[in-house]
């Protein structure tokens, strides 16, 4: 079995998420070849065939040309699966390749299962197992669903070129806007509850949020006590959130709080009380004093 993996470059850099493609291929037990529209000055640590097209001539976002490059690599490699990340680059390019080949595309694969690929649906509440009807298939894999795997080595370069007038003109990037807290979009939220003790301790929780590249959240009592502004409040009277990681610090888990965060992908609760209701929804319950555990965790993460 053979896969053609499509890596990603952005703003002159190879994206780390490219290595998740290798994690997927390893789980599939498949041979790999990699295609990158990038630069020879930044090659991945990989010892297989690397189809490289110059980003200087092909652009970072030029789906028409990139499609041609992928098709050319497919012709040379004859892979069973053409694998993209399910990202703004991948979900934009994959259907174009699939349509050109008239082959199945399976989007946002989260697992490899015996009778096909598992994908999420219905807001991640449900799963579907999907199998291609075609000999080849285009796949996009969910970010974070497969482990980052660095194969190591030096790639065997095969340079590709493509020409043609672009149907899309790429003008440039706009940096992310500096925002006040938008918990709904945060991937990581670290929330403070009454167990934090006092207002002066809030910076300790905020520091953990920063270390995890997340936002500071809070339970209602903490907001009511004006330790933290209302825009940080998680729960029925605050915001309903579903980040990839939710860390509840000193939050016992009143129902109105649980209702606002229980759909988070992964929940860590730090609480002195082993029987606190937050434990019912937590994936990991750390039984500890928040003010002892959190600074230790933050320090370790900083290393």
């Amino acid at each position: 079995m053979k896969t053609l993996l499509i890596g990603e470059y952005r703003e002159g850099k190879l994206l780390e998420s490219t290595y998740e493609l290798f994690g997927f291929a390893a789980q599939l037990g498949a041979e790999t070849a990699l295609l990158l529209v990038g630069s020879e000055s930044q090659l991945p640590a990989y010892s297989g065939t690397l189809y490289l097209a110059e980003v200087a001539t092909c652009g970072e976002y030029n789906p028409g040309l990139h499609k041609k490059l992928v098709l050319e690599a497919i012709q040379k490699e004859n892979p069973d699966y053409i694998v993209f990340l399910h990202s703004s680059y991948g979900w934009d390019l994959a259907p174009r390749v699939a349509a050109a080949l008239k082959t199945a595309q399976i989007s946002e694969v989260i697992a490899i299962v015996p009778d096909g690929f598992e994908v999420g649906c219905c807001n991640a509440k449900m799963r579907r197992t999907v199998k291609p009807n075609s000999a080849k298939a285009v796949l996009t894999i969910q970010a974070g669903a497969f482990p980052v795997t660095q194969p190591g080595g030096t790639p065997q370069l095969q340079k590709l070129t493509a020409e043609g007038s672009a149907t899309i003109e790429f003008i440039g990037y706009e940096p992310a806007e500096a925002k006040d807290v938008d918990l709904a979009k945060a991937e990581v939220i670290v929330s403070a509850g009454r167990g934090v003790g006092k207002k002066d301790n809030i910076p300790v929780i905020a520091a953990l949020a920063k270390a995890l590249k997340g936002e500071l959240g809070a339970s209602r009592p903490v907001v009511d006590a004006e330790w933290v502004s209302h825009s940080h409040q998680v729960g029925t009277t605050g915001q309903t959130v579903s980040p990839k990681l939710y860390v509840a610090c000193g939050i016992s888990g009143a129902i109105q709080h649980l209702a606002g965060m229980k759909k988070s992908d992964f929940i860590v609760a730090i609480n002195k009380d082993k029987d606190a209701p937050i434990g019912e929804v937590a994936d990991v319950l750390v039984v500890a004093d928040v003010m002892q555990f959190v600074p230790a965790l933050t320090a370790k993460l900083a290393q």
């Binding site: 976002y61 703004s88 199945a104 799963r127 197992t129 999907v130 899309i168 860590v268």
Partner: protein, 258 residues
């Protein structure tokens, strides 16, 4: 100028989903239906363009599905679309994205649309394929996941939402298709007078058999809930040891420490 916006009717995502008797999709009993959220942004953007262009511009809304999807169509009409096409298909949920795109393409191929708007994905199926595939089938210029849209004399300037809040700015010439991301605009509410006016707008019904010429490229083997979370792990004891254990778990089970 001719505009098309494609919408899907989806269940309220707060619902509890149960597999249907074939185990291939959800059971539709007792679900409340609404317009796919992404499509609301698409409709709003299409209506804004329609309003900017004024007389001589026609905006059509299209949906595929059983009779109930007319409710979503009527909402789009109340938001400002001029007329509608309802492709009648009680079995739309069994079709794969390739077939859905093919059906729309068969409708659109001789209509000379200048701009087609779709949602970036549906909330229920979430394949994020139909819009881009449709553009390929029609040979339209296409960009996806837009959070900004401007039109000027045959050229669209769009902002794509990339990871981490960065935006990519692109220009494309019509005929073009854009897939719309949440936050592109603020979709208007259909007002009661506009709901009343929408009752008089034309909805053309087309049987799906007249448009569908393609078989599915992928097959759903099963529809099921995720494997149940086991009971949570409880860490107790030395703080330093627990810190290491937790970091290990986070590395293994989440993507946030990578």
């Amino acid at each position: 100028m001719k505009l098309l916006v494609c919408i899907k009717q989806v269940p309220d995502l707060e619902s509890r989903f149960k597999p249907n008797s074939e185990g291939l999709w959800y059971n539709e009993t007792d679900l409340a239906w609404r317009m796919n959220e992404y499509d609301e942004y698409a409709v709003e953007q299409a209506v804004r363009l329609r309003e900017e262009q004024g007389e001589g511009t026609e905006l059509t809304v299209l949906s595929i599905g059983p009779d109930r999807v007319v409710e979503a169509i009527k909402k789009a009409l109340a938001m400002g679309c001029d007329n509608a096409v309802h492709i009648q298909d009680p079995a739309a949920a069994c079709k794969d994205p390739w077939q859905i795109a093919s059906i729309v393409a068969a409708h659109a191929k001789d209509k000379a649309y200048d701009v087609i708007f779709t949602g970036m994905q549906s909330q229920d199926r979430g394949s994020a394929q139909v819009g881009v595939t449709l553009a390929e089938q029609l040979d339209f210029a296409c960009t996806s996941t837009i959070v900004g849209f401007e039109y000027d004399n045959g050229t669209i300037t769009a902002k794509r939402e990339l990871e981490g809040g960065i935006k990519g700015v692109v220009k494309l010439k019509t005929p073009a298709l854009v897939t719309c991301q949440l936050g592109l605009n603020v979709p208007r509410y259909p007002t009661l007078p506009n709901i009343m006016k929408a009752k008089k707008k034309e909805i053309t019904a087309v049987a799906v058999a007249d448009l569908l010429k393609e078989g599915p490229l992928a097959t759903t083997a099963s529809f099921h809930p995720p494997a149940k979370k086991g009971g949570g792990t409880v860490l107790e004891g030395d703080v330093g040891a627990m810190v290491d254990q937790l970091i290990g778990i986070l590395k293994e089970k989440t993507a946030v420490l990578r």
